[in-house]
């Protein structure tokens, strides 16, 4: 197992380097530093002198990959690739192009609000999905199964934006039960989290119930379930002790993949509910065309996804001993 983990960790290094190069090429080949300067300066300050000064002030005045004017190792280090992209590999995300604030500092500050919203949503959605899926799986073909499936498809078909706007309209504006949006640190935080968590949970139910129902149905029809029933075990014991345990393997192995969503937050939710998390940070940066932040968030997202995949592989080998990793 240890050898497997070490080998996978070694795979991560070239993957991250590849992602880093790809992100750099995508951002800088499509959008040159001159373009970035002009976008940041706006219509009124487009003269070449201002563009050059902006590039100099933001560290974009050097060549992209190779600095022919520099000497020695500086040919490589005095480049935009080294300064702005490669530095992300050792956790230096640089500074925002617009406000010059430290991106690393902002990521650290915003991770907690994102987790405060996304963790309860993730746990509540997982729990509700499993319970509902198990109930409808045992009643396959019944009216309640069909009604639930219909509702699930309906829930999946509605855009996430509608849940947010409707939630804000009914619970905050009409019934005045919760604040419309905002965020407070400390004990009063829950007041602002109730509505986004409710909205996030409801919007995540449809697809999850359908997926888990399929997983449970596969298990319910297996021989060991038939044997358990023949032995006269109560239905609840069969479901919770045997079916759930086996169906949880694919569910649990998917959990680490959610690391990305947990950490990066939900862009729409955070934006509409003014939660100072990473999702809102990314979407604001996109709107302001702050490419330094967008680049950092894309790279961070890739890193988290790679870590999630690694954890998923490890979980898989732990929860299912039949799987042998060579």
């Amino acid at each position: 197992m240890l050898a497997y983990i070490i080998r996978r960790l070694l795979y991560v290094v070239p993957t991250l380097l590849g992602v880093n190069i790809l992100v750099f090429v995508l951002f800088f080949m499509v959008n040159t530093p001159d373009d970035m300067a002009r976008q940041a300066l706006g219509e009124k300050n487009m003269d070449p002198l201002q563009v050059e000064r902006w590039k100099e002030a933001h560290g974009y005045e050097v060549p992209l990959f190779w600095n022919g004017e520099a000497k020695g190792v500086q040919c490589l280090t005095k480049t935009i690739f080294f300064r702005k992209s490669l530095a992300m590999l050792w956790g230096n995300f640089g500074h925002s192009d617009m406000t010059q604030e430290s991106i690393g500092g902002e990521i650290r500050r915003r991770a907690l609000p994102s987790l405060c919203v996304s963790t309860p949503i993730f746990l509540a959605t997982l729990l509700i999905n499993i319970i509902l899926a198990m109930i409808v799986a045992t009643k396959r073909g019944s009216v309640s199964d069909m009604v639930t499936q219909f509702l699930c498809v309906a829930l999946m078909s509605i855009s996430g934006l509608i849940y947010i706007i409707a939630g804000q309209y009914f619970f905050a504006k009409l019934l005045r039960w919760t604040p419309v949006s905002g965020f407070l640190q400390g004990m009063d935080m829950w007041k602002f989290l109730v509505l986004p968590i409710l909205v996030g949970t409801v919007s995540g139910i449809g697809g999850g119930v359908r997926l888990y129902r399929t997983l449970f149905l596969e298990e319910i029809n297996r021989d060991y379930v038939r044997t358990a029933r023949a032995k006269g075990l109560p239905e609840s014991q069969i479901l919770f002790l045997h079916v759930l345990k086996n169906a949880m393997i694919p569910i649990l192995t998917n959990v680490p993949l959610q690391l990305l969503t947990l950490m990066m937050g939900n862009m729409l939710l955070e934006n509409f509910f003014s939660i100072p998390g990473l999702g809102g940070y990314t979407i604001t940066a996109l709107g302001a065309q702050d490419f330094a932040i967008v680049r950092a968030m894309v790279f961070l997202g890739s890193v988290l996804y790679i870590i999630g995949l690694l954890l998923a592989d490890i979980c898989y080998s732990i929860v299912d001993p039949r799987i042998r990793l060579g």
Binding site: M46, P48, L49
Partner: protein, 615 residues
Amino acid sequence: MTRVEYVIHLKEGVKYQPHPCFAKEADGTPSYKGVKSSEIAGIKSIASFPKQDSRIMTAEDFKVALTRLCDTRLSSPIYSTFLSFITGMDECSEAIKAEVARLEEEQQKRGLNPERYSVLPDYRKIPLKGIEIVDDKTFKVIMPRKYPQALYWMSLHFFSPVPYEALEFFAEPAIVDAGFAFKNWPIGTGPYMMTDCNLRDFLTLKANPNFRDDFYHWDGSAEDKAAGLMADEGQKMPFIKQIRFQFERESIPVWIKFLQGYYDTSGIPSDMYDAAVNMETNGDMGLSPEMAEKGMQMISSVSATSFYLGFNMLDPVIGGMDPKQKKLRQAISIVLDYQEYIDIFMNGRGVMSQSILAPGIYGCQEGKEGVNPFTCRWDEESQKIVRLDVERAKQLMVEAGYPNGVGPDGKPLVLHYDASGSGSQSKTGFLWMREKLSKLGIVLEERLTDLNRFRDKVNKGDWQMLMTGWVADYPDPENFLFLFASENGVVASQGGGSNKTNYSSPEFDKVFHQLESMNNGPERMELIKKALRIIQEDAPCCWGYHPKSLVLTHGWLKNYKPHHMAKTFKKCLRIDTEARNAFRRKYNQPILWPGYIGILVVYACGLLLIWRKKD
């Protein structure tokens, strides 16, 4: 004239806000010089530093501010403008560059990374010919030419005094490590000081205890008096003790919070327009009865902004100064009825332009006087400006050599509209334009590109028609008319100018250069009229519209009158907190009965299930 001096006398006793940069120990050394990170751990706001002090503003602070703008590392957006009228900015910039290089070398030797900890040149000692300190309270700004608009530039925040102690404080490595930066924590002598700075979430300003004696005074009209804008005459400002700016990313939550009384003012989201605005029978806009009942007010004002459809004067078809080409542009300008555009696409929130000058700017004539005779006429019956008939446009097309839109080659005239946006608003706007031009037989095609390519096209003059605009920097006609000066042509100046249409007319240039450095008066007014008439006839643009902003305020917010130039009116605002609290109590009581019904339904369902199971 080669040297113009402005002598500036500072008011006596103007003090800075309390700030840790001024705090000193008994021996006179700054309290935070060489401070260690552990000593300031946990401090999140400049206002939370335990040691604070202040001092009187001096002339040297203005020298520091102006010299600092020459530092290339700042990338100040105002540098190019100041360079054009303040002597010695470029030389100063070079001197700073050399000094920065020297300091960085020294710093590297000390083992400090200059990229992380920026070096600080002593701006007090670096010479700048454009500023001369006479004494502590007096300084001169020296210019190579007469430029009256300099006063407007000097009233902008770029010219605010900067105490050198503040720059030293923010250059301390521990202060940098703690995340404090001068650009995010401004220091000043004004009515408010920043106490929370969270750029992407919120900002908090608190009343500056050292603010000078400044008393409310308003030379308003009878209308202003009736609106209660003079009720606080003679009272000391500021009235509000704390202002919090919340960064909201979406318009609907802002609107709901405004209705709930958590925001004092709000714009009107387009989706909520019908709920907030009542169109009167005469076309005027009024507040809806529901809003008026809650004590809200609607304040509308025309902003000092011009939007217009530009024609590329370098284009062989649509551009050029030949009479035929002028007539083609005039014909197009007649059929593009921007009053209709305002009514359809902007809910009436705009004023149709007759020239580049926005209402309120000196030289902008309104009503009958201001009619652009080449595209519009005054309608006595409605007492409004209306577009000339389409027949006149068709006649102009014939004179331009395009009868029914057909050119000398027998083919329909095809024009191209260049744009960078692909949103629904721009698409419908284009369709409206195409439909209007089809009345003249002109075929309009759209050429969409991303913003960067679009800017490249503008810089190279590779376009025919585009929509553009200008927001005034200061309330002077020069700030609009310079958009048509030959030397500012985007192509001619290789992207350095703002004359996007690349219009070039020696006649206009002559008039413009006469009026640009003149003080307002009858002579200047005549020249402005002449300049406007030249560009109205040459039609390098189809004059579009000046947007109107609508702001809703709650009744408890007093002394509010928007100003599109000055941002310093916060000190005049007053809030009736009792009225605000009463409103919040009245309109934010939770409605609980649906919740009780929900609980009952769940309870009943539970009972039903138990009963069925028992049965």
